[in-house]
């Protein structure tokens, strides 16, 4: 059984403008620099076995990104706190390891396991009271029909089942010290992942999305919700405060 390291990392500040692919390349280089004995893929052009979770839209920040690293069988690995420091040293400012731990080989991939994500979404263009009214309306509706494009064709879809929770926090003091209207949303990843932008559109054409920040990813199993490394929910806040200081 191969061993997998699961890494939770943050993406904050200017580096939020890099893409999911860019982040993958940053990790490949950081992992090579750290000398971690990573297993390689088979084939003519072997790549280190890194498996990333759900893609984060370019421009969004996150306190909860994940990747699984398959380590060479039986290879010695430096202590995890040391490894976290080594990896972070090879990553750009704003991308930083928040936590890491071993997962057993038979655990599913991140893509299979993660069932929902929590988001903080900054909203401009509408007042807090108006936004709260629309949120209530949306939560009360039996369905939220949207049209989206799939393979070049417009298909009808219902957003409602994917919206696990939604609330408005006026003037939330965010890490950057801003004071705008923020939405807190938990959006399911199945049957398909709902993007923050789709949610904003469903709340009205005048809703302009500002900053978007993923705060948690969740694995729901047997009616219970847990963080992919099994950490307590309070950890997210601690990570945010620390990482923010470095990124800005």
């Amino acid at each position: 059984m191969t061993e997998r390291l699961r890494v939770r990392f943050v993406k904050l500040g200017k580096v939020r403008f890099t893409s999911h692919r860019d982040v993958a390349r940053m990790w490949e280089r950081a992992v090579r620099r750290s000398q971690l004995p990573v297993a390689a893929s088979q084939g003519f052009n072997p790549r280190p076995l890194l498996a990333f979770g759900l893609a984060l839209p370019t421009g969004a920040e996150s306190l909860a990104e994940y990747l699984d690293i398959t380590v060479v069988d039986g290879a010695a690995v430096v202590p995890l706190d040391q490894l976290a420091r080594d990896l972070s040293a090879g990553l750009p400012v704003g991308v930083e390891v928040a936590a890491l731990g071993w997962v057993t080989g038979d655990a599913g991939s991140l893509q299979e396991q993660v069932t929902s994500c929590s988001w903080d979404l900054e909203v401009r263009g509408v007042r807090a009271s108006e936004l709260a009214r629309r949120v209530e309306q949306l939560l009360g509706a039996p369905s939220v029909p949207v049209q989206r494009e799939r393979k070049g064709r417009a298909v009808d879809d219902d957003l409602r089942p994917a919206i696990r929770s939604l609330s408005v926090t006026p003037r939330q003091q965010d890490c950057a010290g801003g004071g705008s209207v923020w939405l807190q949303a938990e959006l399911a990843t199945r049957p398909r992942g709902v993007r923050p932008r789709e949610l904003a559109d469903a709340l009205g054409a005048d809703v302009v999305l500002g900053r978007a920040r993923r705060t948690q990813q969740w694995i729901e199993h047997g009616g219970e919700r847990r963080e992919p490394l099994g950490m307590g929910a309070g950890l997210g806040t601690a990570i945010a405060a620390h990482a923010w200081e470095r990124a800005s």
């Binding site: 890099t18 052009n45 750009p92």
Partner: protein, 646 residues
């Protein structure tokens, strides 16, 4: 010093590839602007993806930031969507390190690697908030400098750039810093600064020269100030070993071209390809010691985490220590991870292919060769001494070693070219496909054809350039000849872009007004085919009373004044002329690295010599050495269907 980031950030949600504008690369510095330090903004006038890997810019970036009296930041040309957003929001051109406005800097220094970016240079000056013409800027404005290969005919940009640097920049940027520093301490006029700069070797201040015309012809460019030398000679660093830069290559956060570790193994080239400006203006050859190369690779891989290293130069297979170096990298002496090595320029012979195969562990997808000419006669004219047997041997070795795709670079529109030479390209390429069939079911050969553009300070500087119509006709000949050949695909460069490049490469100072008109008409990013617009250029030329005929489609006489005659790349004009006469007679010359000197001037005139570790040419010979040139077009190799034999 006020960061523009709060005004830049909101723009980035609405533009393509926003990571171009954030900086933050590994190796990027955040220099502190301090009194007494001359601040440089190093600008690459093309997109971030193209400009970031530029080694010249990165070398100067480090050298300047190491100095106590200087600091440097970087800027690249924002793509059109970002530029529009910046103009709408009133955000000027900014640096990537501290996101400062360009006008906060003492010096704006442009890297000129290609002629088609000239309109971008004007656009960036304007985006910075400056007048594009030097004469309309004041002492309070940043000094505008430019360097790079295109500076060997700087005249088309002479009205916009305060001073050009010719040749290697390593030493002269320090001297310029000192001149600016003491000028600032004295608080004198801009004119005094320009005159002080003109006294530095390798620095050309165009406003200190008078351009005289005789009718429509250029008569002379002469000093108009006692501070200006009659001839400005290029700078050359004698020993690359003294300059192990970049030490901390920038590792971008987003995708760029050449995204790998790059280590320069030598500078200069004496193969003597007559069309090649880069080779001519960078003589003599200065190799980096093999041990230093290996140390730079070792340190660079450990620092960056790259898994690919390119050994860069104009012809890396000619590097004396190539074998030891490749063996060391592949053998794990430069780090314990798997690394692939790329040689950006391959010599055309089987020996080189063997090396390339050994090192390209992964991605063995395609190899590229550049025979440039379709017939042996043509290749003697351009002095690219590749015999057919060399090419076929190399191609066979490539296919035999598991490569599936071979790319061949050719030029058309070369001097003395006949249709038979053009068709020779198709014949060579077809033969290469046949060779490949012996090894693979479906080998691919790509023949890539560019239109030749005569360049300043080369033997072909006198030659006429083919018209768009001639180039098109030749491309059509090739299309017919390659039609329906399975496995062969033909690609060609837009003839119109080649001809416009020719305007800038050999134009005189009058071309500046044309460039300004094209820029004012919105013609930026002209090296991008989707943005290139021939009609704008044609209109601008006509409006200035100039023509393609007069600038591009015309051969020059021996006694004609060339716009760059007062500038020297080290090459004697009579050497260039006799090399041009040899070319017309299809007479080839050997690589002077290993054979007697032709007294071109690059070494003899400058008290320099080649720095080459090996006294003998490489195995298999190169550029005339060790080759029997009497039988360049006879092919001593026979191929039978299905089996490759030698």
């Amino acid at each position: 010093m006020r960061s523009l980031w709060p005004s830049i950030e909101p723009l980035l949600d609405g533009v393509t590839k926003p990571a171009r504008y954030i900086g933050g690369e590994l190796g990027a510095l955040t220099p502190e602007h301090r009194p007494g330090a001359v601040s440089w903004l190093l600008i690459y006038p093309d997109t971030y993806e193209i400009g970031l890997p530029n080694q010249g810019l990165q070398i100067l970036y480090e050298l300047l930031n190491e100095r106590p009296d200087a600091l440097a930041e970087r800027a690249y040309a924002p793509w059109v969507d970002m530029e529009a957003a910046m103009r709408a929001a009133g955000v000027p051109l900014f640096s990537l390190e501290n996101h400062l406005p360009a006008t906060d800097f003492d010096v704006l220094a442009f890297n000129l690697s290609a002629e088609l970016v000239y309109t971008n240079v004007l656009n960036l000056l304007d985006l910075a908030g400056l007048a594009v013409r030097s004469a309309e800027r004041s002492a309070a404005d940043p000094l505008v400098l430019a360097g790079g290969h295109c500076a060997f005919n700087p005249e088309p940009l002479a009205d916009f750039i305060d001073a050009f640097v010719l040749g290697d920049g390593e030493e002269v940027v320090g001297e310029i810093t000192e001149v600016i520093g003491s000028w600032r301490a004295q608080g004198s006029e801009r004119q005094a600064l320009l005159e002080a700069l003109a006294s530095l070797d390798g620095v050309y201040v165009p406003s200190l020269y008078e351009v005289r015309y005789a009718g429509d012809a250029l008569a002379e460019v002469v000093p108009a100030s006692p501070a200006a030398p009659a001839e400005v000679r290029k700078r050359t660093i004698a020993d690359l070993a003294a300059w192990p830069y970049p030490k901390a290559q920038l590792v971008p956060l987003t995708e760029v071209v050449h995204d790998r570790l790059n280590v320069e193994v030598f500078r200069g080239c004496t193969r003597g390809c007559r069309f090649c400006q880069a080779g001519m203006v960078t003589r003599p050859v200065r190799e980096r010691p093999g041990e230093q190369v290996r140390e730079m690779v070792r340190a660079g891989l450990a620092r960056t985490g790259y898994d690919e290293v390119a050994l860069t130069s104009l012809s890396t297979a000619d590097f004396s220590s190539i074998e030891e170096t490749v063996r060391a990298i592949v053998g794990g002496e430069c780090g314990d991870q798997q690394v692939s090595v790329s040689l950006p320029s391959l010599r055309v012979d089987a020996f080189t292919v063997a090396t390339a195969t050994e090192i390209a562990r992964a991605r063995r997808t395609g190899l590229t060769f550049a025979p440039e000419g379709g017939t042996w006669r043509m290749r003697r004219v351009i002095n690219k001494l590749i015999r057919e047997e060399d090419l076929y041997g190399a191609v066979e070795a490539a296919f035999a070693n598991g490569w599936r795709r071979v790319k061949l670079y050719f030029l058309i529109g070369l001097p003395t070219e006949q249709d038979e030479d053009v068709l020779g390209i198709a014949a060579l390429a077809r033969r290469c496909v046949e060779i490949g069939r012996a090894y693979h079911r479906s080998p691919t050969v790509v023949a890539s054809v560019g239109g030749f553009v005569p360049k300043a300070q080369t033997p072909f500087q006198w030659c006429r350039q083919d018209t768009v119509e001639e180039l098109r006709r030749k491309i059509n000949l090739l299309k017919e000849a390659c039609h329906k050949v399975r496995g062969l695909s033909l690609r060609w460069h837009d003839p119109e872009a080649s001809v416009v490049e020719g305007l800038a490469s050999r134009g005189d100072r009058r071309m500046g007004a044309v460039i300004e008109r094209v820029w004012r008409a919105g013609g930026t990013f002209q090296e991008w085919s989707e943005r290139f617009d021939m009609a704008t250029w044609a209109e601008a030329l006509a409006a200035e009373g100039l023509s393609f005929d007069a600038v591009a489609y015309r051969a020059r006489d021996e006694d004609e004044t060339l716009p760059w005659d007062h500038l020297s790349a080290g090459l004697h004009k009579d050497f260039l002329w006799s090399d041009w006469q040899d070319a017309l007679a299809a007479v080839a010359v050997e690589d002077c690295r290993w054979t007697p000197c032709y007294d071109c001037g690059a070494c003899t005139g400058a008290g320099l010599e080649h720095v080459v570790a090996s006294p003998v040419p490489p195995a298999g010979g190169s550029q005339g050495t060790g080759q029997d040139l009497s039988r360049g077009d006879r092919v001593p190799v026979r191929f039978t269907a299905g089996v490759g034999t030698r």
